[in-house]
């Protein structure tokens, strides 16, 4: 009975908790290997087979999702004739769906016309499917993740400025 | 309307207990005397329990009034200051229990 009490007390010690937790989680993970894993091929936002676009000499590979651009910089919103292809969960909730996917910045257009191998850069600058997902259809996620970064930074910089760096005391 | 009646029951029970407590403090000054039986309390308890348990048998007044009054009277005894009213309560319960059983057997 006494040893039981000691075990119970040990379990309440903060130092042991992460280790207990990781042990339990590790066991769960390894048990997960028994589960039959298979990828359901009906997914949202599917992408072409890896390397197929770059092998087809597509200058926008690997993020070409269609759409035709007219870069006239008119602020009336008519930038394109044809939006890109997106398979969103609720297309009806996004009025301008596909437009970001199809959009390429003027600089991006000039890059596209000069070289075949800069598709990633073109589509990481404003436009592209990832931007559409990150800022538009799943923009709320990005609100959170940038807030997470901000909060972590607030915490870290507060701790750093007040404890770790201690600039005031030193100078 | 059911719930209103239950509320009335509970209220009469609670008020009965409070009054019982106040009265018994007036009547008995010394704490915790448990030997002798108080006749008044006994009578109240018997009447209360009879009204409470045998309310079907009493045709004169509506059932909920008799239960309300019965609860009130029982609560008077139940709520007496600690040490008092215990035997009265039990005796009242037994008496009315007997009446209830005989009533059930006879009717």
């Amino acid at each position: 009975m006494r040893s039981l009490g000691r075990i119970l007390n040990d379990l309440a010690n903060p130092d042991n908790i992460p280790r207990l937790f990781s042990l339990v989680l590790g066991i769960v993970l390894i048990a997960g290997l028994l589960v039959p894993f298979a990828l359901n091929d009906h997914q949202l936002y599917p992408r072409p087979e890896p390397q197929s676009q770059i092998n087809a000499q597509d200058p926008l590979a690997p993020y070409d999702r269609g759409g035709v651009v007219i870069a006239d910089f008119g602020l009336n919103g008519n930038f394109l004739l044809e939006p890109g292809i997106t398979k969103a969960q609720y297309p009806e909730n996004s009025a301008a769906i596909g437009k970001i996917t199809g959009y390429i910045s003027p600089m991006g257009i000039s890059v596209r016309d000069t070289t075949l191998y800069f598709g990633t850069s073109i589509y990481s600058s404003p436009g592209g499917l990832i931007d559409e997902i990150l800022y538009y259809t799943r923009g709320f996620d990005t609100v959170l993740e940038s807030s997470i970064l901000m909060m972590a930074f607030v915490v870290a910089s507060w701790v750093a400025l007040h404890f770790t760096m201690k600039r005031e005391e030193e100078e | 309307m059911d719930q209103v009646i239950y509320l009335i029951y509970i209220l009469s029970f609670v008020i009965g207990m409070i009054i019982g407590l106040v009265l018994s403090y007036k009547k008995y000054t010394e704490p915790f005397v448990s030997k002798n039986i108080d006749i008044v309390a006994l009578v109240i308890s018997i009447i209360g329990w009879i009204l409470l348990l045998n309310s079907q048998l009493i045709m004169l007044i509506p059932q909920y009034i008799s239960i309300t009054i019965g609860l009130f009277l029982v609560a008077l005894v139940l709520g007496m200051r600690p040490g008092y009213g215990r035997f009265e309560l039990v005796i009242g319960f037994i008496v009315s229990g007997i009446i209830w059983i005989t009533g059930m057997v006879l009717l």
């Binding site: 390397q51 770059i54 590979a61 690997p62 070289t115 075949l116 191998y117 800069f118 598709g119 990633t120 850069s121 | -």
Partner: protein
Amino acid sequence: MAFLDFINISTVSAAVSLIGAAGIILLPKPVDKVIMFTLLEGGFLGMIVAAKYLDVAVAAAILDPISTVILLIAVIKINDVRKEKLKAQEEMNIA
């Protein structure tokens, strides 16, 4: 000649990175490890080039030396710190 077909940029860079990884893991001295780390990164760069994503390769090529430099600085610094500490201990022992 089918055997030689296997020698393309992917497999070579895979081999390079595996050697680099083995080096990082097995070599005892941190500075050696940093050198092997560049080998590993080189293999990885080769893979990106094999995949024809030149912009990624450019960015990775710039970021790799930086990470090597940061690792180097840290290793030098920590060696410094340890030396200081040893010296301080010896002084303590002499005194």
